[in-house]
């Protein structure tokens, strides 16, 4: 796959993981 596509795709994957972590703070607060 072209680098031009892979870089934003993988950066978005990293950001998605961080979104999960932000959500997990709320999740653990209300578990």
């Amino acid at each position: 796959m072209a680098a031009a596509l892979m870089i934003p795709l993988l950066t978005t994957a990293g950001v998605a993981c961080f979104w999960l972590f932000y959500r997990s703070v709320d999740f653990f607060d209300n578990i």
Partner: protein, 567 residues
């Protein structure tokens, strides 16, 4: 006594002796008491002012975690940017290219999470700009992140009821200015005087003694190696890490680097007791961690000193021990010491090739990462241990028929749910990754032939090790694995990031929930947690969880290999 054994005893003994005053010092600076490093206060205030941060404001556990995650997210963008464009950036005298996107993703995550799994070789895969302004920078700030999160948990365990658990930025900054920078500087200076390069020069062409021409890599290595060891990072400047003669030139540097690996993790365990003004508690934690560590260390030294039967069968002299993959100038015991210390902490630097360890030694390195709580990484090692303490308190409470309490706070369903989620996340990530990789390889071994240098049991161990190292944020590898492929780069990247932040968020959440609760003063009926009995309980909780989760996988890999080799 054998000189080599005496050498490793001196290394470990002196590290523990140094860790005691360091633990006291850590407790002092984090509590905000007067210390000899207070002259740095104006500098720290200036940094906070420049960053627009009020580090004196105490925050809730949720606010602290949001601060931690946000600054880490910014570093992720920075690392991706630098690694994807390094070929066009300055300080690149060897003209190394930019990383491919999947390798940049793996490396960015790897250094962001204090893992330092390296699917590149420093000599040809990273520029000096990347090494210093991206990788070394992350080695400082990620170690400080773990230490700051740990102090937030310490705060929650103090007597009384509170919503406020201190300020992440305050602890983060102090960890860098007053602990990591000075200690790393001292180690880096010793390395420079012992022969480690610290320059911006390109590779040097040399002619070897036997007449071959080659190029020797140089660069700002000493600075990076100092924090690599002090911050339990482990990412080497050169490809073979501290097995490289310029990264670890002498027995003295080997001893100092080895001591630096476990110094802060041990000091943090002791700091826990000093911080709460209950030193016995710190010693209990240290005692359990040390017992677990020795259980792995002693047999590893034994096996590595007694040679490899397969090599003995070829007629090679095994008097020096199992020397395949080891440096003759360091020897088998010093390599065995390093192998276990680097894996019980989340360091991952190596001075010998773990792929060449005898099978049970390899299993012990795996177990060090699977338990991930015998010293552990700077700060995060204690957080992992804290989860096991919560489980042990709960089980002890059930055994004696009382409501479980830890330091005057009741452990209830919410804390237990979080503790169990975090305790099971680790094996889930390791075993899922290994199962998927094994499945793909078994279905198409010809297409994926580049993955494994060794078929059979050892090949399985290589894949198991890669995911274990990623999930433990360790970063070492069984280097027979061909790991610079999109599958390994992306899958281990995802494992590393999940295995870093959830095990920080979970223990901080437990601590925050506990801190809010009514404080119950200790009485004759309270479960005492600073005793040997409770320490034994925690010890067995850790081992039982590890054994239940990992024994089948270990049986398929290193145990099967051991019984094949020693039949």
């Amino acid at each position: 006594m054998n000189k080599e054994l005496l050498g490793i005893l001196v290394i470990f003994g002196s590290t523990v002796l140094l860790a005691i005053p360091l633990g006291r010092y850590l407790a002092t600076i984090y509590r905000g008491d007067r210390s000899w490093t207070d002259f740095l206060v104006p500098f720290e205030r200036l940094l906070c002012r420049l960053g627009g941060i009020d580090a004196t404001k105490s925050l809730t556990w949720q606010q602290n975690l949001v601060a931690l995650l946000t600054i880490n997210l910014v570093w992720f963008f920075w690392a991706m940017l630098v690694l994807c464009t390094q070929g066009s950036l300055p300080l690149n005298p060897d003209h190394n290219p930019s990383m491919s996107p999947d390798q940049a993703f793996n490396t960015a995550i790897s250094f962001l999470v204090n893992c330092n799994l390296q699917h590149y070789s420093g000599e040809s895969g990273a520029t000096y700009f990347s090494q210093v302004f991206c990788l070394m920078f992350l080695q400082f700030v990620t170690a400080a992140t773990g230490m700051a999160a740990c102090v937030i948990v310490f705060n929650a365990l103090r007597e009384g009821t509170t919503e406020k658990l201190g300020n992440f930025y305050d602890y983060f900054l102090k960890s860098i200015t007053r602990v990591l920078l000075p200690l790393s500087l001292v180690l880096a200076l010793v390395l420079v005087f012992q022969g480690t390069p610290m320059n911006w020069a390109a590779k040097a062409p040399i002619v070897t003694v036997q007449g071959d021409s080659t190029n020797v890599s140089r660069g700002p290595a000493a600075a990076l190696i100092g924090i690599k060891q002090m911050g339990t990072n482990g990412g080497g400047f050169f490809g073979v890490n501290s097995a490289h003669p310029l990264e670890n030139p002498t027995y003295l540097t080997n001893a100092l680097e080895n001591g630096a690996i476990v110094l802060i993790p041990i000091a943090m365990a002791l700091a826990f007791g000093y911080y709460l003004r209950r030193p016995r508690l710190g010693w209990m934690v240290f005692g359990v961690m040390t017992a677990g560590y020795l259980l792995l260390q002693l047999p590893t030294v034994y096996f590595e000193m007694h040679g490899n039967p397969a090599i003995a069968h070829l007629g090679a002299n095994q008097a020096l021990g199992s020397m395949e993959g080891k440096e003759i100038r360091l020897g088998a015991p010093a390599s065995a010491l390093w192998a276990i210390q680097t894996t019980v902490t989340s360091n991952g630097s190596v001075n010998a090739m773990h792929d060449s360890l005898t099978p049970l030694s390899g299993m012990n390195t795996l177990l060090g990462m699977m338990t991930n709580a015998f010293y552990g990484g700077v700060g995060v090692g204690f957080l992992n241990f804290f989860v096991f303490i919560i489980v042990a308190v709960f089980i002890s409470g059930l055994m004696v028929g009382r409501t479980p309490e830890f330091l005057g706070k009741k452990i209830e369903a919410r804390e237990m749910k979080i503790a169990i989620i975090i305790a099971l996340l680790h094996p889930l990530l390791i075993l899922t990754g290994t199962a998927l990789a094994t499945h793909f390889y078994a279905n198409d071994p010809k297409e994926l032939a580049g993955w494994l240098a060794n078929p059979g049991y050892h090949g399985f161990s290589e894949m198991l090790y890669e995911y274990t190292s990623s999930a433990a944020n360790n970063g070492s590898g069984f280097e027979g694995l061909g790991d610079n492929t999109p599958w390994w780069n992306i899958s281990t990247g995802i494992v590393m990031v999940l295995a870093r932040y959830l095990p920080i968020i979970g223990p901080v959440a437990i601590a925050g929930l506990l801190a809010r609760k009514k404080y119950i003063p200790e009485s004759a009926g309270t479960l005492r947690v600073d005793t040997g009995t409770f320490g034994i309980m925690v010890f067995f909780v850790i081992w039982i969880i590890a054994a239940l989760a990992f024994f089948p996988a270990l049986a398929l890999g290193p145990l099967a290999e051991h019984f094949t080799l020693y039949q």
